[in-house]
């Protein structure tokens, strides 16, 4: 791992030409000597790169490797029987297809909902845009399975709407595929919305105007211009929601009933049956489609997107749409926003009820009890997230800095490993962590299982995508020329980073942190494997209450969690507003 500053490649012009003409070997030698010189000149940077590689290998690659290994190395020898059995055993094939089907439904409905919202917000004069934008994105800042909890309160056995729905569609159960699709669509359509909002906003409105100017009606403009241009974005949104749905653990845990999905089955195999090989194989089945979808999204779909050809945009315009176009779009937005509000409102309402569906007397006792039982969880969640988030931010920004701005041997590898953290479902990571860290290894000479450290580390590396994304967004705010100017004035890369780069990227950095904190506070799918009696978190506790049908208490705890998150977001936002312009959520999510 030798490295070479991009800035310091500034050889005299003739040398560049010479280098260009020389054969590859000469160039390699030149580069290696250049890099050796830089180790000498910037040893700290060199050590930091080594350290980051150590962390990435230990906490990203190694756990995944453990999952792979455990699925094929059983009882001390190679054994591929699990894989051979994939297509014959119901306990493999059924959850696999169930998860895929769930993913397809959720991705499709979520993308449609996200698209309608994004279209309404970017292309119409929908009133109260901020309200709708907030509603459409709100589920992002709550633990996803809160939606499932609300669904139970509304449509479950004792649900408030159950009798009414029954009178219309007859007997039904919210536990199962349709319930899952409903809650996951609500939970994950914000992702589609944010992606598509960015896409639709970026389509030059003059293209649509040109189409209309040439005689196209609204429908024609939509089908011949807007939709084709948004297609790569829609595919992107679809794949991202598909991944989230496949990887979702909380919602299926609460509401899947007899509908078996991979994440829950893997969890049950490992924590209930202690069947590591089978659990690992299920995790692998979960990993493969999500990784495939991720790389499709990353390399295929995003390549196909159209870059608008030319310069100065002609300021966005809001079209005077006909009422028969506005009516369905607005209605869809209002209905959808209504559903989101209904779900979260139910959580609020439910948190004040004595016993849901039985005794609707309003009470504060849930909150009182919740504090008695749950204050440790709450404290641990806040504490561990507060430790993990800044570390994520700093490591993330450093990695993105290295990847974008530096040139060193192993850079491609570093980029690839960091990308892995984007794509691997939490369940896989969680299983990987218990397999990797419940004993001493060369990489990690102490047992981490059962400590607070394993939770902190997991939170750090689960959030790494957020850290890196916000790092990249932050670095894009600055012109490399400014850094070069500083280096030119005699500062080494260290000083340049501290004195120039850091202050300029702080706002983007902190808004990235805000989102990282939210993700840490709401994490469940991986975390549930590494919590212990001593160190437990609020999301796991809420899930436990739901499992015990203590819905009111779970609701109270969820509300507290959301309030903490909102307060934290507010504080960070206040701070960011003070120092400058933050980053948009889209850049971090996609």
């Amino acid at each position: 791992m030798l490295f070479l500053d991009k800035e310091q490649q500034g050889l005299p012009y003739f040398l560049v030409v010479l280098r260009f003409m020389n054969n590859d070997r000469n160039r390699q030698i030149h580069e290696i000597t250049g890099q050796l010189r830089l180790i000498w000149k910037e040893p700290i940077l060199f050590l930091l790169i080594l350290l980051i590689f150590y962390f990435l290998f230990t906490f990203v690659v190694f756990p995944i490797f453990q999952v792979v290994k455990n699925s094929v190395y059983i009882g001390g020898k190679w054994d591929f029987s699990n894989y051979v059995a994939i297509f014959s055993k119901r306990y493999f094939i059924q959850p696999f297809f169930n998860s895929i089907i769930l993913g397809i439904y959720t991705a499709t409905l979520g993308s449609i909902a996200g698209f309608i919202f994004a279209y309404a917000l970017t292309r119409t004069s929908l009133p109260f845009k901020n309200f709708f934008r907030t509603t459409a994105t709100f589920p992002i800042i709550s633990p996803p399975f809160i939606v499932a909890l609300a669904a139970i309160l509304l449509f479950g056995r004792a649900g408030s709407f159950t009798p009414w729905v029954k009178s219309i569609i007859g007997n039904y159960s919210i536990y199962g595929l349709s319930g899952l699709v409903l809650v996951e669509t609500i939970a994950y359509s914000p992702t589609a919305f944010l992606v598509l909002y960015g896409v639709l906003e970026a389509i030059d409105p003059s293209l649509e105007e040109a189409s209309m100017d040439l005689g196209a009606s609204w429908g024609k403009v939509f089908t011949t211009v807007t939709l084709p241009l948004a297609t790569p974005g829609i595919a992107s949104a679809w794949l991202l929601v598909f991944i989230q749905s496949m990887a979702d653990f909380g919602n299926p845990m609460v509401i899947s009933g007899n509908y078996r999905v991979l994440s829950v089955q893997a969890y049950l195999q490992i924590t209930g049956m202690y069947d590591l090989p089978r659990g690992s194989t299920l995790a692998m089945l979960l990993l493969l489609p999500t990784i495939t979808a991720f790389f499709l999204q990353k390399y295929w779909v995003s390549r196909k997107s159209y870059v608008t050809v030319t310069g100065k945009p002609t300021g966005a315009t809001i079209k005077n749409l006909e009422w028969y176009i506005k009516l369905p779009i607005y209605s869809a937005c209002i209905i959808y926003a209504g559903i989101v509000l209904l779900f979260y409102g139910t959580i609020v309402y439910g948190s004040f009820q004595t016993l849901w569906g039985v005794n609707p007397t309003l009470t504060l006792k849930n909150y009182v009890e919740m504090f008695e039982v749950g204050k440790d969880y709450l404290y641990h969640s806040v504490l561990l997230s507060s430790i993990a988030t800044p570390v994520t931010g700093i490591v993330g920004i450093f990695i993105s800095f290295l990847i974008i701005r530096k040139n060193f041997i192993g850079r491609g590898l570093m980029e690839f490993i960091s990308m892995l953290t984007f794509a691997v479902p939490g369940t896989v990571v969680g299983i990987g962590y218990i397999l990797a860290f419940n004993q001493k290894t060369v990489l990690m000479p102490v047992v981490l299982t059962g400590t607070a450290w394993i939770i902190i580390i997991l939170l750090i590396f689960r959030d790494m995508p957020v850290g890196i994304r916000s790092g990249i967004a932050a670095l894009q705010q600055i012109d490399p020329a400014i850094e070069e100017a500083s280096t030119d004035l005699g500062a080494d890369s260290n000083t340049t980073f501290r004195k120039i780069t850091l202050p300029m990227i702080a706002p983007a950095f902190f808004s990235g942190l805000a989102f990282g904190f939210v993700k840490a506070m709401t994490a469940i799918s991986a975390i549930i494997f590494v919590v212990s009696g001593r160190w437990n978190l609020i999301t796991v506790a809420i899930l436990g209450f739901v499992d015990n049908t203590q819905y009111a208490r779970a609701a109270a705890m969820s509300i507290i969690l959301i309030i903490i998150i909102l307060v934290a977001l507010g504080l960070i936002q206040l701070f960011v507003n003070r120092v400058g312009k933050g980053v948009r959520m889209t850049t971090i999510i996609e």
């Binding site: 050809v309 030319t310 310069g311 100065k312 005077n320």
Partner: protein, 364 residues
């Protein structure tokens, strides 16, 4: 009276409400003849684009009316108007080839693919795009993209062609050749056109008439020569070309409008002044730098002192102090002309045809 093919009547556009109200277009009246090319010229933000967007139907006027070929189209939606717009950034559909871009309009109007393609071939030949039909717009040069955009509009055979700064994304050389091309094309096709630009040279070189706008208000409408030689006010004089303004006082006005002024004890008669003046009124004498002739000092002439000399190769620029005011004089072909020294007192000859008098305006 102008036989109007396109007419804007008392057009007003007010954006926003409350505190940030902007009157982008303010009581604009304009009549455009069939086949005429009229340029809207003015500084940034003067409302040119807004007028164009009202004609094309993308903005509804706050008040006023728009007629095309006797028909009131004020509220007709853009897809039903007989106008076609060439966008500043071309707005070519990136997901279609050049040919697909061009036949987009005809196909929308239900013309068969074959007929549309045939028509497209003619139009592509007209604008010089043969052989590029299968390319993607992103693989074309700026000038070629411009042509595609033109072709896409022309194939619609619109009654009015609207061009919003169509050349502003091209480099300077290409801009000059493209504007000649657009002009030739427009004359060949004989299409009524409104052309928006903030480049006065562009406006002068290709228009039948120029409309000069400021803050949404028309300052002057006239042929390029008219607005250059006889601007209606100080803004127009300043905006079009370079102008010197000399403060003077009106000495005498004859009944048929000849105005006598006094400049450094020399009487100057401006025959048939465009505006009406009264005796003893303050006024501006507008002098174009190239219309002033310098000579070696002679008695009984207007004189000035040379304060600065700049040699630009093809021309010599002198800053001359006349009656305590600085005046710029440009002499072309400096090798031929007499040359003068800094500080030298010179005689100044003002050809009567080039004199233009404007009523006094307080400086802003």
């Amino acid at each position: 009276m102008i036989e109007a093919f396109l007419e804007l009547k008392e057009l007003v556009k007010i954006f926003g409400g409350g505190k940030d109200t902007v009157t982008a277009v303010n009581h604009v009246n304009l009549k455009v003849r069939e086949g005429e090319l009229v340029t809207l010229l003015g500084p940034s933000g003067c409302g040119k684009t807004t007028i164009l967007r009202m004609v094309s139907g993308f903005e509804l006027p706050t008040s006023g009316k728009i007629f095309i070929d006797q028909e009131d189209v004020t509220t007709t939606p853009p897809n039903k108007r007989p106008t076609a717009m060439v966008f500043q950034n071309y707005a070519l559909f990136p997901h279609m080839t050049v040919a697909e871009n061009i036949i987009y309009g005809p196909k929308i109007h239900g013309i068969s693919n074959q007929a549309a393609r045939k028509k497209a071939e003619d139009v592509m030949k007209l604008v010089g795009l043969e052989k590029l039909g299968n390319r993607s717009p992103s693989h074309l040069s700026g000038g070629q993209q411009q042509r595609v955009s033109l072709a896409r509009s022309l194939i619609m055979e619109p009654k009015v062609l609207l061009l919003d700064e169509p050349l502003s994304n091209l480099d300077a050389k290409l801009r000059v050749s493209m504007r000649l091309e657009i002009r030739k094309l427009q004359q060949r096709v004989g299409i009524t056109s409104i052309y928006v630009t903030h480049d006065q040279e562009e406006a002068m070189s290709l228009s039948d008439r120029v409309v000069i706008l400021k803050d949404g208000v028309i300052q002057q409408i006239g042929t390029p020569l008219e607005v250059y030689a006889r601007p209606d006010n100080r803004f127009v004089a300043d905006f079009i070309g370079k102008a010197n303004f000399l403060n003077t006082i009106v000495e005498d006005v004859t009944p048929d409008g000849d105005v006598t002024i006094n400049l450094l004890e020399q009487k100057l008669i401006i025959p048939k002044a465009k505006k009406s003046f009264k005796k003893n009124n303050k006024a501006f004498l507008v002098l174009r730098p190239e219309s002033i002739i310098l000579e070696k000092k002679k008695p009984d002439t207007i004189t000035g002192i040379i304060r600065e000399i700049v040699f630009l190769g093809n021309q010599m620029t002198y800053m001359i102090e006349i009656a305590k005011q600085l005046v710029t004089v440009e002499m072309s072909n400096p090798q031929e002309c007499e040359s003068f020294e800094n500080g030298e007192e010179v005689s100044i000859k003002l050809p009567v045809k080039c004199l233009h008098l404007l009523p006094w305006e307080e400086e802003e």
